[in-house]
């Protein structure tokens, strides 16, 4: 169906373009005074756009609409006593679709056959309607474009206006993404806290200050009376602990790398060291997670065993160290940028006073670059908080409220992943809890990013 539709659309668009530009050429050769306002190609493009846009819109609106109508028609044909709740309706609908596609195994009941027939007829009627409507509008567009070809007609201006609208629409996709994130996450979060029909939902205070996290208890609706715990604090401490370890590793390493690369390194060393950092930055986190879980964690555990410490095999230390390695290139490249942005005159001034290179760096360059470095660290923290795969593979699942880096802790992202991977229903508190965690994550990283980017911006303006 969609194949035929889009083939027809392509044919109409091309025909519109070709015929219109031909006609425009013909018009320009006519004897009357003056030449064509727009090049023939613009007349062609204008007609093509007039065909393309309505046909695309018809399909984009019609296809999902038809799905809904067909579904409800099929269910209406089915006796309502047989499909009472959401789950049964979904299963029935699948059966109906399988039957309509001749893939139903077993002997279908009479009601099912009825429903399948209804579905088939609704679908074919709807598809022909969409097809007819689309072709009709396309032809109308074609007629409009084709008949308006004239020496005076400003096809280029019209087409450029159309292009501008398309460009604008593309630029708003980024905004729409943000809006989509905010609404999808916020909506489920509000349901999580305030939907009265939800069993086991916590209050906002319970969530923010509770010290126990145990979403599993709310897994099934008939377990509603079992104590469910949605205390966010252990997740927060776990996330912060791993982030802290990561920053302790990446901060000095990244900063000193940046200082060395921008102030000391010869071009040859730079040419050698920069790719190392770039390769490290390009390694997928799932690879780092594998490395953390299968190599780093056993090594750390082995060392601990050696000196008589009992280290959990999913210790925060292993995950934190590898995550630190992940953000070294991040801190280093951002700090490199801000250090390079410090004007040469400041350095020259310090050298003129007799300062050594390291004294210049410590007493002049770093203070001058401090806002930028702070924002680099904030961006790095935000990245560490939001990082998923390393902690999923190397950190634990149990929500321990501890600050001991040798224990297993869990993080916000690990819990989101654990809750949402696998089958989930949208009306359990457990699933919605993941969205609430997602909201916290989004909010925290957003605040960190906004502040950091604002600092960078202002700082840039200061020296430009």
């Amino acid at each position: 169906m969609s194949g035929i539709y889009f083939t027809t659309m392509a044919v109409l668009v091309l025909a519109g373009f070709y015929l219109s530009s031909r006609r425009a050429v013909g018009v320009s050769r006519e004897a009357s005074a003056g030449s064509l306002h727009s090049l023939p190609v613009y007349h062609g493009l204008y007609t093509a756009a007039l065909v393309f846009v309505p046909m695309l819109l018809v399909f984009a609106v019609g296809a999902p609409l038809l799905d809904r109508i067909a579904n409800s028609a099929a269910l209406a044909a089915f006796p309502s006593s047989l499909a009472t709740d959401e789950l049964h309706r979904g299963a029935t609908l699948r059966d109906v679709y399988n039957l309509a596609a001749n893939q139903y195994s077993g002997a279908p009941s009479l009601e099912l056959q009825n429903a399948a027939e209804t579905l088939k007829s609704t679908l074919s009627l709807g598809r022909w309607t969409i097809f007819g409507l689309g072709v009709a509008l396309g032809l109308a567009g074609f007629a409009l474009g084709f008949t308006s070809i004239d020496k005076q007609f400003r096809a280029r201006n019209r087409f450029e206006r159309f292009v501008l609208i398309v460009l604008f629409a593309c630029a708003t996709v980024a905004i729409l993404t943000t809006v989509g994130i905010v609404f999808s996450v916020l909506y489920e979060t509000i349901r999580f806290f305030f939907d009265p029909s939800l069993k086991g939902r916590p209050t906002v205070t319970d969530f923010l200050f509770g010290t126990e996290w145990n979403p599993q208890a709310a897994l099934r609706a008939d377990q509603g009376d079992i104590k469910t715990a949605f205390g966010f604090v252990p997740l927060l401490t776990g996330t912060l602990l791993i982030t802290l370890i990561a920053i302790l590793v990446a901060g000095p390493l990244g900063l000193f790398s940046a200082i060395y690369l921008s102030e000391y390194a010869t071009p040859r060393i730079r040419a050698f060291a920069k790719p190392i950092l770039e390769i490290l930055a390009g390694i997928p986190t799932v690879v780092l997670g594998f490395f953390a879980a299968l190599t780093v964690a056993p090594i750390i555990r082995g060392w601990g065993h050696h000196v008589g410490l009992d280290i959990a095999s999913e210790s925060a230390l292993a995950a934190g160290v590898v995550m630190g390695m992940m953000i070294i290139p991040f801190i280093s490249s951002l700090s490199d940028d801000v250090i390079n942005a410090v004007p040469q005159s400041l350095r020259d001034g310090a050298y003129a006073l007799g300062a050594t290179k390291s004294e210049t760096i410590r007493n002049v360059i770093l203070p001058a670059a401090l806002p930028g470095i702070v924002s680099a660290f904030m961006l790095a923290i935000s990245r560490a908080i939001g990082e998923t795969m390393i902690v999923v593979m190397a950190a634990g699942l149990a929500a321990n409220l501890t600050f001991n880096p040798l224990d297993a802790v869990t993080t916000i992202t690990v819990q989101i992943k654990t809750i949402l991977v696998g089958d989930q229903e949208f009306d359990s508190a457990k699933t919605l809890a993941a969205f609430a965690l997602g909201f916290v994550l989004f909010f925290v990283t957003l605040v960190l990013n906004v502040i950091a980017l604002a600092i960078v911006r202002r700082y840039r303006e200061q020296y430009d």
Binding site: A171, V173, I181, Y260, V286, R362, V392, T413
Partner: protein, 578 residues
Amino acid sequence: MTDISMDIARPEPKFRLDLTSDAARARIRSRYRAETRFKAYGIAALTVTALFLAVLMFDILRNGLPAFWQHSLLLDVPVAADIVDPAGKREAGAIKGADYFPLMRNALNAAIPGIESRSASKQLTRVLSVGAPDRLRDMLVADPSLIGKTIKVPLLLSDDADLYYKGAGTGIDDRAGRGTATPSGRTGEITVLTSSNDFAEELQNIKLRLKSVADTISRDAGRIERSGPDQAQRVASMRAEVANLANRYQQPGNAEALDSKVPSVLVAINGGLVKATRLDASGITGDVLLPLKSAEEAKPGTWKVVHYSTPESDRKVTDQEVAFLERLREAGAVDRHFNWRFFTTGDSREPELAGIRGALTGTALTLLVTLLLCLPIGVMAAVYLEEFAPKNRWTDVVEVNINNLAAVPSIVFGLLGLAVFLNFFGLPRSAPLVGGLVLALLVLPTIIIAARAALKAVPPSIKEAALGVGASHQQAVFHHVLPLAMPGIMTGTIIGMAHALGETAPLLMIGMVAFIVDVPTAFTDAATVLPVQIYLWSDLPEPAFQSKTAAAIVVLLAFLFLMNGAAIWLRKKFERRW
């Protein structure tokens, strides 16, 4: 003015530049030391980073490269017509559906004759993979005339046997027997007695081990006793155990039993192999792993004492299997070949059968959707923002928004995909279409930022010249500025796609983690992608899967390096300084 200077009485300066005193020299020395130290910190930081990267790469390659090779047994398989095609019609369906297990067993029994015990023959068939007959089946379907003949086919080994040949089994050493050895039989449980004390060394090792076990228990008992009197009974039983062990190790002569926690001791004699279960200095009692040709006595030097240095409980293959595998290796039946299957099959529960074709296809489909969406949208958005957008509040908001979007955690995009694409629009779970949509939104900011930078790098004079000869604003941009910015945009796009290629977390959210055997063929089929396949395999307990995971990582990194290399090449080739 000149006389002013005359009036100034030069006061004693409060601070004198002092460069020569010892204190000053020391100060300067310490300043230079600080300088060196500071520089060393930088070098150390870079070294640590480079070292980490090197260890990471080395570890992945060390784990992953062996998985690109695989071992098969090249055996003569007599293809009995009554097993493969009892009906005699030579139909492809019947040949495909036949039970090949008896054929495999016969071929193995022919390679290692004389195995009688049930458990031993079971272990013999276990060295083959459940997918071992695949190759034979394909050959027979392609050429039914082979039925009834004996053909040489590679039979795929099981993951544990494969790992054994890759060196994950045990070290083996042997030494010639000094005395004359006399076996008491050919099969079953037999004794082998020697005329000299050939096993004194082994016996001593076992006694030493008993002593160390006794010492450990004794230490533990002491600790428990010190910690309180409430476990007196336990302490007493531990002490008894220690006494018992001491009794055993203090008498060097008497026989000791061997268990699976100590290195295995075996005797290779008369073409067979006996595993010792009990030994004293001059003889062993044990089970025959490979039957002896005869029960005659063996002269000194014609029989051997063999050690499997890794205790049986520390490895995946039993002594019996090691004996079989070693015998097969000696017979030259083991064939090492490149693991093409890894690239041509989908996922499997059996490590030796699992491949990444499904994941690679899923990745290709997903990235195709991503590219088709985010390249045009990203470029057009960048063109709008850079060339046509009025400079006002709205544009500022868009700009800040894009920068922030680039820093939103990727898992949040997964939540967006789950809530919007799956639950609101009702698109299918696990589909490359949805994965591609989510990844497109994820890398869109990267591409927009890169494209804007590329557009900004084109000097305004180009555009102005076009405008000057009468082009419209759009003509100037689309005919002149955009083509010049294209190499930069392509570089940014490749880097963005490389980012999308390595992304895992958002795809977990939209259900691309299912165990999928079939290779996907459409954008709405259930599929998985390479990074998710890596994640899935890394969770599995089999050691062979750990190796597969690393191999899949090698493939992923190879693709990433290829893409980044292409980006660098593009940048170098088309880079223009205006």
